[in-house]
């Protein structure tokens, strides 16, 4: 009776499949609208989307298993689930960035980068004053933290991967433990150990930018050491052995073979660590404290920073200060995205390039001819 059934690939989507899918979606929307909007009085757009998705999957399963059996139905439904979940992850990313840009752009003007909050009252519009003091503070605190944690982080990574010490195991465990240290605890540690007991006696150990960078470097150290160690492990053993076989010392091998080979990976890891630390807010509340005016000296007096500026402004109940917070958030987001792009450009896989270069050579030959 059924002479020539043409074979089909299991993953192929026929027009009929698409039709069924669309029909299921439409009926899911209709059912959910009837049930949630008409009968039980509103669930919000997010809840509605969730409900539609659930009903859609149910309908799709029933219809497909009726046509082609439960195996195919399970495959179809899970394909829909996996695809939609994967894209659902990026909806908030787009929403977050879009929201901050949309709210921050009107308040972010050129003089945001030049002025501080001196003489600004909450009744003035959000575009008055600026965040220059916060930007300077962030640069100094993160720079100092980098200065403290970069050499140490590199040395620890080299120690973990290149030395033969019996201490490697405990140190690795402790570095792991340190990367689990909540940043607020790092801030609390600096606050309770240095600031609280000595603030009255030693000027350096009161609320200031330097204390903030100490707390930041505590969180930054493992975020540099761990990825750098991974990068160092990727350096082929043959290069190391070649260098040692040529008679150079282990120190020389690390300095002139291992580190140069891993250069781009190390740079990527460090830039990503900076990007993570720039947005760190919690430890700053207890260390830099925040200040409305420009204080360019990180070693003396409370200092503002960009995350702190945002955090404190959006918690105030006035529209103008909240819009200042948005402007700061946009500036912070720009800094982080900029660092992210730099890390991407540095870390781009070199092996991708040669074809393009070859094409360029061909083109120039064409010009010569």
């Amino acid at each position: 009776m059924t002479p020539t059934r043409s074979p089909r690939r299991p993953r192929e989507l026929t027009p009929l499949d698409l039709g069924i899918s669309v029909a299921c979606l439409v009926s899911a929307i209709a059912v959910c609208w009837l049930f949630f909007v008409q009968l039980t009085g509103g669930i919000g757009w997010f809840g509605f989307a969730l409900a539609v998705f659930g009903v859609y999957l149910g309908l799709l399963y029933v219809v497909t298993s009726d046509r082609s059996g439960s195996h195919v139905a399970a495959d179809r439904v899970m394909t829909a689930v996996v695809t939609l979940f994967a894209f659902a992850v990026f909806v908030p990313l787009v929403l977050v960035i879009g929201y901050v840009v949309a709210k921050g752009l009107p308040a972010l003007s050129f003089h945001f980068f030049l002025q501080d909050q001196g003489g600004i009252t909450p009744s003035q519009p959000g575009s008055a004053g600026g965040g220059a003091h916060a930007i300077v503070g962030t640069l100094e605190q993160v720079g100092l933290a980098l200065l403290l944690s970069l050499p140490l982080g590199l040395a620890v990574a080299i120690f973990l991967n290149e030395s033969r010490s019996k201490w490697r195991r405990p140190v690795r465990i402790f570095v792991d433990a340190m990367s689990g240290l909540p940043s607020i605890v790092a801030g609390l540690f600096i606050y309770a150990v240095l600031i609280l007991p000595y603030a009255q006696k030693v000027h350096l150990l009161s609320f200031n930018g330097f204390m903030a960078s100490l707390a930041l470097s505590l969180t930054m150290l493992p975020t540099i050491a761990r990825p750098v160690e991974v990068v160092l492990r990727l350096v082929p053993a043959g290069l190391r052995e070649g260098s040692l076989a040529l008679g150079s010392s282990r120190a020389k091998t690390v300095w002139s073979v291992v580190l140069p080979t891993a250069r781009t990976g190390i740079a990527t890891a460090v830039v990503l660590a900076i990007a993570r630390v720039v947005g760190e807010t919690a430890p700053l509340i207890l260390t830099a404290f925040g200040f409305d005016l420009m204080n360019a000296n990180p070693f003396s007096g409370p200092q503002e920073s960009l995350p702190l500026f945002v955090f404190q402004n959006i918690r105030k109940p006035s529209v103008a200060t909240i819009s200042r917070g948005y402007a700061g958030a946009l500036a912070l987001l720009i800094v982080v995205l900029f660092l992210f792009v730099i890390a991407r450009v540095i870390g781009r896989d070199r092996s991708v390039r040669p074809p393009r270069r070859r094409r360029r050579v061909v083109a120039s030959e064409g010009v010569v001819a």
């Binding site: 689930v81 979940f85 030395s163 940043s183 919690a282 995350p307």
Partner: protein
């Protein structure tokens, strides 16, 4: 400048040769190198030891007041009455509930994202999507907190209201009469979940990528559908990575501060009503109360110590699970 390899001279006549002894005579540069790197390693040990020790020392007053067990089992935090009564249980409850809600949402999102990137997407889409996951990981918690506080919270209220009105007979959806539904533990959990999806997706993706192609092809050749192949080969193979990645995410969710400071009222309380405005977490409470007197700070140090030990335990268990599993032995966390 050379490593000197000394060969012990063997008398040629003796047949059973003893294995040669290789000794390493380090050069001056090597000795400096060893000393510098070793001291860096030891410094980290000492540093973390100091953090733990000082947290313990400075939290003495809080432990003295109520005893360690009393501090751990009391849920209220009253510094306005005499004698002061502080305990960490209420804070711990909020911390664990928020992190649990976050992990319940983030695990399916992260694992399915990893599956999509690894098994469904074309190479081009794969590159773009894994870049986007990294980007999601790079967005600061403060930005998520601001967005959650000013945008998400009001958007999720209708969902909470519907749940409590129509499914209120289920205990976890119950709320008090006329309770405010903004800034609940549920909403904080949703926002925190977005921040831990990247780590779960990244770890899962690494283990999925190591699934032996032979086993996948065998499943397909036996006639399984793509989902059948994933269910019977990829997921069992990557189980260790999924569990370990989820626990790493859980550890990160426990320590998340700014989102919960902005979203929760930070009043310690133990309640099953996750949809209503209430509760506090350890990290958020520390951020809000740290300006207090010495006794308060010692209590916060004690709470911080508890948080530190819990995240430490969770992270250690997670990395052990990943490295012991069949798939995860080569995976870097």
């Amino acid at each position: 400048m050379t490593d000197v390899v000394v060969l012990e001279e063997q008398p040629a006549a003796r047949p059973p040769r003893t294995p040669r002894v290789v000794t390493d005579v380090p050069t001056q540069a090597d000795r400096v190198f060893d000393r510098v790197t070793l001291s860096a390693g030891i410094f980290v040990l000492v540093l973390l030891g100091c953090v733990g020790m000082f947290l313990l020392l400075r939290s003495r007053p809080a432990f003295d007041e109520s005893g360690i067990f009393g501090f751990l089992s009391r849920s209220e935090w009253r510094t306005d009455v005499q004698p002061q009564r502080i305990g960490v249980l209420g804070l711990l409850f909020g911390t664990v509930v928020v992190a649990t809600i976050a992990i319940l949402i983030a695990v399916p999102l992260g694992v399915f994202t990893a599956l999509f990137i690894q098994e469904y997407a074309s190479p081009r889409v794969r590159r773009i999507l894994s870049g986007l996951v990294d980007l999601l990981a790079a967005v600061p918690g403060l930005i998520f907190g601001l967005w959650g506080f000013l945008y998400v919270s009001p958007q999720l209220v209708p969902l909470s209201r519907w749940l409590t009105r129509n499914l209120g007979w289920i205990p976890i959806f119950k709320t008090d009469q006329n309770a405010a539904l903004v800034n609940s533990m549920f909403i904080a959990g949703v926002v925190v979940s977005l921040m831990i999806v990247p780590i779960i997706a990244a770890v899962s993706r690494e283990v999925f990528a190591q699934t032996p192609p032979g086993e996948k092809e065998a499943a397909l050749a036996l006639g399984s559908t793509r989902w059948g192949m994933i269910r019977t080969v990829v997921l069992p193979y990557g189980k260790g990575g999924i569990i370990g990645g989820s626990m790493l995410g859980f550890g990160r969710a426990l320590g998340e501060t700014i989102v919960v400071v902005l979203l929760l009222p930070q009043v310690p309380q133990i309640t099953g009503h996750v949809l209503q405005n209430c509760c506090a977490t350890i990290s958020g409470f520390i951020a809000v109360r740290a300006g207090g007197d010495r006794f308060t700070v010692s209590g916060l140090m004690a709470a911080g110590l508890v948080l530190f030990l819990i995240t430490l335990a969770v992270n250690m268990i997670a990395s052990t699970i990943v490295s012991r599993s069949r798939s995860g032995s080569g995976v870097e966390l």
